[in-house]
């Protein structure tokens, strides 16, 4: 056996199996196994190369935990000068405007709100990218929500979304006008498009960002997203490629109040795609028959139930509460996995992100994966029999008790006191 000068250790819970140490190790002594890096002590020489590259600081030498703390600070944000000059040609923050038949997905307005902030921090223009057929009104409206300029491609081939012509249109605009940042809503359509564009542009794309800020010194977009089950936040950079691209889910950012006096400069371009290039034809669209499909993302009041309901019948109670308050039902994943309610109602990391004025969580423990989907609600009420439940940590108001006593009482008082009117009435938007 090789005698290592120091014994390498790993903090398993901190390892994100990124593979950096594996790539760095000259002795082939570290391997990713499932979800943790595993050290082969037969091969490890204790050289320490892996420790330097580990982004989560989960590797250390036994007995040297302290010294490692003081390790050199990160010199991450440095880029070669020639490259920097190339990158500097890219200016401006762009938002992709998702629309269908002139109807804009609200996430686009939300991103314009965020984009305004980023553009102001960078001292550059905020532009909207508008593709479709007959989209002049949409282009004008982007000004109301903060855009300085709208790049428009209006073409009958863009009447319905299809990846190829939309991607080609976006690529043409980006290559011609070179924005430094492009944000796209993390919707079904947005994800389909973003992955395609980023591939052709040979640039980074960070999905589902919850935080976007400018590092003014390095002129970089710091893209923060939950990683590895939401227990960890990761900040991602795209240092040497432009544009920097991110997708953001609906309801994560806030739209500006529209100002109908704001003007936008319109720049028109044409699409250079013919029907034969596309290779995909939309034959039919079958709208969902289920008209009461919940619109959780944009609901003002959500009454969510968790495993504490005890059985699927608990959702009947939650429905009654939701009706009494003029809201809709929501659910934790535990209840969805148990088959008590459909996935359409699931709030959280693998469900929906919501931002209601009032979120009532009954029998939900408040796991981080649930919290990331609802913690930006204006007011959170938690009803849980366990005083130690995590949900109380983020609740504005908590009641410790049996939901089967508290919720019926709440329904009763809500009805008697006309709470629905009071909550949604004149304060409504």
């Amino acid at each position: 056996m090789r005698k290592a000068k120091r014994k390498l250790q790993i903090i398993a819970g901190q390892c994100i199996v990124c593979g950096l140490c594996e790539g760095e190790c000259p002795f082939d002594a570290i391997h990713m196994e499932g979800d943790v890096a595993v050290i082969d002590y037969e091969l490890c020489t204790g050289c320490g190369k892996c420790i330097k590259v580990c982004p989560t600081d989960c590797l250390y030498f036994e007995g040297e935990e302290e010294a490692e703390e003081a390790a050199e600070p990160e010199v991450a944000e440095e880029v070669a000068p020639e490259l920097e000059a190339g990158l500097a040609e890219y200016q401006g923050v762009w938002i992709y405007i998702e629309q269908s038949g002139g109807q804009v997905h609200p996430v686009s307005w939300e991103l314009l709100g965020k984009g305004r902030e980023l553009a102001d921090a960078l001292g550059c223009e905020l532009a909207a990218m508008v593709l479709g057929e007959d989209v002049d009104d949409v282009a004008v409206a982007t000004g109301y929500y903060g855009a300085d300029k709208a790049y428009v491609i209006d073409d009958p081939l863009l009447a319905h979304y299809r990846t190829h012509p939309f991607a080609e249109g976006c690529l043409k605009l980006v290559r011609e006008y070179r924005p430094e940042i492009v944000l796209i809503g993390a919707t079904t359509l947005g994800r389909d498009l973003a992955g395609a564009i980023a591939t052709d542009l040979h640039t980074g794309l960070t999905a589902d960002c919850t935080g976007l800020v400018i590092d003014e010194q390095a002129r970089l977009l710091r893209q923060t997203r939950p990683a590895f089950g939401g227990n960890i936040m990761a900040t991602i950079l795209c240092k040497e490629h432009r544009p920097q691209m991110s997708t953001v889910r609906p309801r994560v950012m806030e739209a500006l109040a529209p100002d109908e006096t704001r003007q936008v400069a319109i720049v028109r371009e044409t699409l250079e795609v013919s029907e034969e290039d596309i290779g995909v034809a939309v034959e039919e669209f079958r709208p969902d028959a289920d008209l009461d499909k919940p619109n959780l993302q944009y609901a003002e009041i959500i009454c969510a139930g968790g495993r504490g309901l005890g059985s699927p019948r608990g959702f009947e109670l939650m429905k009654e509460l939701a009706d009494a308050l003029g809201g809709v039902m929501g659910a934790s994943r535990a209840t969805v996995d148990a088959g008590w309610i459909s996935h359409d109602y699931q709030v959280g990391q693998t469900g929906l992100t919501v931002r209601p004025r009032l979120y009532i969580a009954a029998g939900i423990s408040g796991a981080i994966q649930h919290r990331v989907g609802m913690q930006t609600a204006d007011t959170i009420v938690a009803i849980n029999s366990d005083p130690e439940a995590n949900i109380f940590q983020i609740a504005d108001f908590g009641i410790v008790g049996d939901l089967y006593e508290v919720v019926p009482e709440l329904i009763k008082q809500a009805k008697a006191g006309n709470l629905k009117e009071k909550l949604l009435g004149d304060g409504g938007t």
């Binding site: 790539g23 943790v36 994800r191 992955g195 395609a196």
Partner: protein, 275 residues
Amino acid sequence: MLKIVICVKQVPDTTEVRIDPETNTLIREGVPAIVNPFDAHATQAAQHLKAKYGAHLTVLSMGPPQAVEAIKKCVSMGADRGILLSDRAFAGADTWATSYALTAGLRRIADEQGMDLVLCGKQAIDGDTAQVGPGIARRLGWPQITYAIGIPDVDVEAGTITVERRLEDGVEVVKARLPAVVTVVEEINELEYASLPEMIRAARYEPEVWTSDDLDVEEQFLGLNGSPTTVSEIFPPPQPEAGEIIAGGRDDSAAAVQELVDKLIQRVEAGTAEK
């Protein structure tokens, strides 16, 4: 005969991931590695096409050597051939570099045996990005059809595929030219149990392993070096400040609820006054 390649990833079973209540970190020990569920549905969908039209199924994965287990699992689900791209040069790849390497693997498969259709899962449950499928489609220059919930028709003669897609407000039916890339969601099928002979075949099956030397790739585009994105910082989510516990929930829920209702109304009134 239809030549189908399914791209699969081995992932930790996140439904088994638990949080250590003391340290608030993920407990990773003993978490089983599984075939990414969306990819398992893609494999099942391929198997259904094979049963209906006759097809040759190849499974392609990129990952560490132990990811051969994921491939064997797919062989038990009906795949005829399995290939693992495994090389230290691939480690640390982001979605751009992942689709680059996988596409190189796909091109080699296409050269060797032909390829009409690539099936992928919508996304991997450990990253949730949904970017690799579109990345592959663009690189191949093939039509990309995401979120498939059904493949009602494949017409090899005419060279077309009909796919039902799950969109936010309904189902869209598209007809695309082959070859094409299709990504699937769970709704497309129910996973079936492998038959005993298939399981035996899978247990004996040894997937081929290709390294970067076996592919037509440029080193600079592989793995960590080829990834436009870098992780700059990792930190625990911020702890929000706790609110107020309204007393009496256990013994006088009527009074507690009354207090809650008053407080909610106060908030609304305060909010309206501000505006």
